[in-house]
Symmetry: C2
Subunit: 455 residues, 2 copies
Amino acid sequence: MEKVIQHIENNFNNYLEELKEYISIPSISTLDENKKDMITCANYVADKLKSAGMKKTKVIKTDGHPLVYGEWMGAPGKPTVLIYGHYDVQPVDPLDEWKTPPFELTVKAGKMYARGANDNKGQNFVHIKSVESYFKTDGTLPCNVKFLIEGEEEIGSSNLGKFLKTNQKLLKCDAVMISDTSMFAPNTPTVSYGLRGLCYMEIEMIGPKQDLHSGSFGGAVANPINELAKLISKLHDKNGKITIPNFYKDVQKMTKKEKENLKSLKFSEAKFAKELNVKELQGEKGFGTLERLWIRPTLDCNGIVGGFTGKGAKTVLPSKASAKISMRLVPNQDPKTVAKEFTKYVKSLAPKSVKINVKELHGGLPFVAPLEEKAVVAAANAASKAFKKKTVFTREGGSIPIVVEFNKQLNAPVILMGLGLDTDNIHSPNEHFNVSSFKSGIKASAYFLDEMSKI
Amino acid sequence: MEKVIQHIENNFNNYLEELKEYISIPSISTLDENKKDMITCANYVADKLKSAGMKKTKVIKTDGHPLVYGEWMGAPGKPTVLIYGHYDVQPVDPLDEWKTPPFELTVKAGKMYARGANDNKGQNFVHIKSVESYFKTDGTLPCNVKFLIEGEEEIGSSNLGKFLKTNQKLLKCDAVMISDTSMFAPNTPTVSYGLRGLCYMEIEMIGPKQDLHSGSFGGAVANPINELAKLISKLHDKNGKITIPNFYKDVQKMTKKEKENLKSLKFSEAKFAKELNVKELQGEKGFGTLERLWIRPTLDCNGIVGGFTGKGAKTVLPSKASAKISMRLVPNQDPKTVAKEFTKYVKSLAPKSVKINVKELHGGLPFVAPLEEKAVVAAANAASKAFKKKTVFTREGGSIPIVVEFNKQLNAPVILMGLGLDTDNIHSPNEHFNVSSFKSGIKASAYFLDEMSKI
């Protein structure tokens, strides 16, 4: 192990140079004009896996951008780790807000600036270099490793989703390792063990058959905006609890261990509020902010529109108004069940004076791995060693559908060992990634394979 | 009187021919390209007033389109009637939806089709021809008459507003007669004696400093859309009453006579609901639909917008949301006072977790003339005689700021003797006006001058 870590230290500058090459390929998955770059990039990743020591490396065609696969199964009887990442990146516009060229990795004051430096080239390269370090020193890996690097994460992973369903045998593993999230705080090793799910609905409230003059008709008929507002206001009670019947029925409570972990996290509500420029935080009564973000389901309007929205005054009594309303779900809530209960409930809330249409737009399952799960513990131990600091456990408030799909299709725990920071501008101009996180990340990956060999 | 009425009958075809000329001038006040037509049309009106027998006719320059004035003050000791109308019209687009050329008066099945046929050339020509009929028969008028025909009604009457303020002596009168509204039902002589006022506000609800990811932040902070909805829902109680403190304090109750009149009107709520395609009407409890439209103040959202309003799903927790909210006011509510109370109240409703901005966009005073007012009675008697049917009294739910201005600046009752119908497509393609209403209107105007001479 020491040799491996020393090798990483000794060769780190080379890794930076290689990452520069990887970054220089503008693999923007959403733009047609970058289609060739996607193939170039997939081949680049396959070559890197091969030169790192992986076997059976291949570029797998899909209906969209290719997948890259590689494996090393030379440790029979030992656990198998599947490492997932993505080589595609977000577009770079607005280009004029970049301080350095987006596809030239530029190191400044301990930070590497480039599109993909963090999300996700920097973070998946960590694992490739950790594997390479083993082969260059020990000539072998402590456990079996599979890589699956896709090119469509930024556009919904739909082809990967299909691939998972039909390649369960190829991808069979004991744990899925993903570095594509953030650390809880700078230089704080972090393992995320849960994600919220999603149920995204749309309501349309319809009043009179056409827009009316609010003078000539105001007072006589229901106003769809006012009625929609009334309906939305009824979705929470005065304690911030969601009023949909049976909504909390399947909500998992925190384990004792989770509670202890949450207590141990240093989180300043005041600082958080200040960063968001709000006077006061707000949410479900009886729960702290982190609980409300990670452990509790929520309901938020994502959009609302109706009537006249231009400048100035127009005295219209609109014919309709609509709102997009989504709920973040936690284990064991089911998006389909929630969508049904939501629909029934909001229809019951609307008065006879209006018509209401309810549509389910999108759904995703929540996910959580037990804190006692061996792979979770292995990742935490590894990260602690690499960062020389105790690893903290977090859950994510957001939803990453493909993570849930890995968990579901491969029946294996998914470990989110994020190395980025929330302040790293992913998806925005001047994306960056700490050089020190990149280095500690490679070490953490190496320690993780070692820890996994012992479980 | 009989001679005058007979003269109208005998010469009606000529009046139609003249109206054709008046209509043929495309006096669209809002379009620069029609600026010359506006002057042509003003001169045409002045000529018509002169040939009708009016004195001191003149075209008065303003900062915008000219006003036309004429008077006949040959009945000392008798009351003076000021007749107001407008010679400007709305644009005609979409032109391809017109079945006949908009500036060619076309008579079909008892209706005259053209832009301005109803609003307002047809309706103001009625009064010019009534005066003419007197001069051609009696050689005199039963009372004093002043005409003021403007060219900016469709664009806000701002120059007329100024003119009223500085010409109170010139325009001094005992009643203002306006034919620019609708009858309660076809062939039903109608006098409107009240209008609602307006207080138009805008609320902006501000949450976090920027749009947030609804997964990463949902549950931690107040959502401005949800908070705005909550606030709007609090503006009415469960009986549909507006909850703003002191809101109803200055609201005038109906007189006994008004109540009787309202009772006598044939109004089908079922038919009204069916026309609007709503299952059920809705409004303040304890009041009928006509009361809610005419006698009671209301509050309506005219527009709302916030967050993601495109197609599909975007999981944003928006930074802000805003709504336009207007209140229709009735005597003796004051828009300034209402705006102040509204602002104070909504600010008190917003929780500390959001910021709120409230802006007053627009306001207008309500107006009502007592049903016992002599000029109101005179107009009703006149219309009954002309239409050979009992006149009904209505109020209007909308606001016509210039009417209130006449009332305020000249300290005279304003009579709205509308001759159009709600189904006449004013402001739309295929505007029309019943030939029979045009004829009965001329007679009603003649009877009105006669009735006024006796008050």
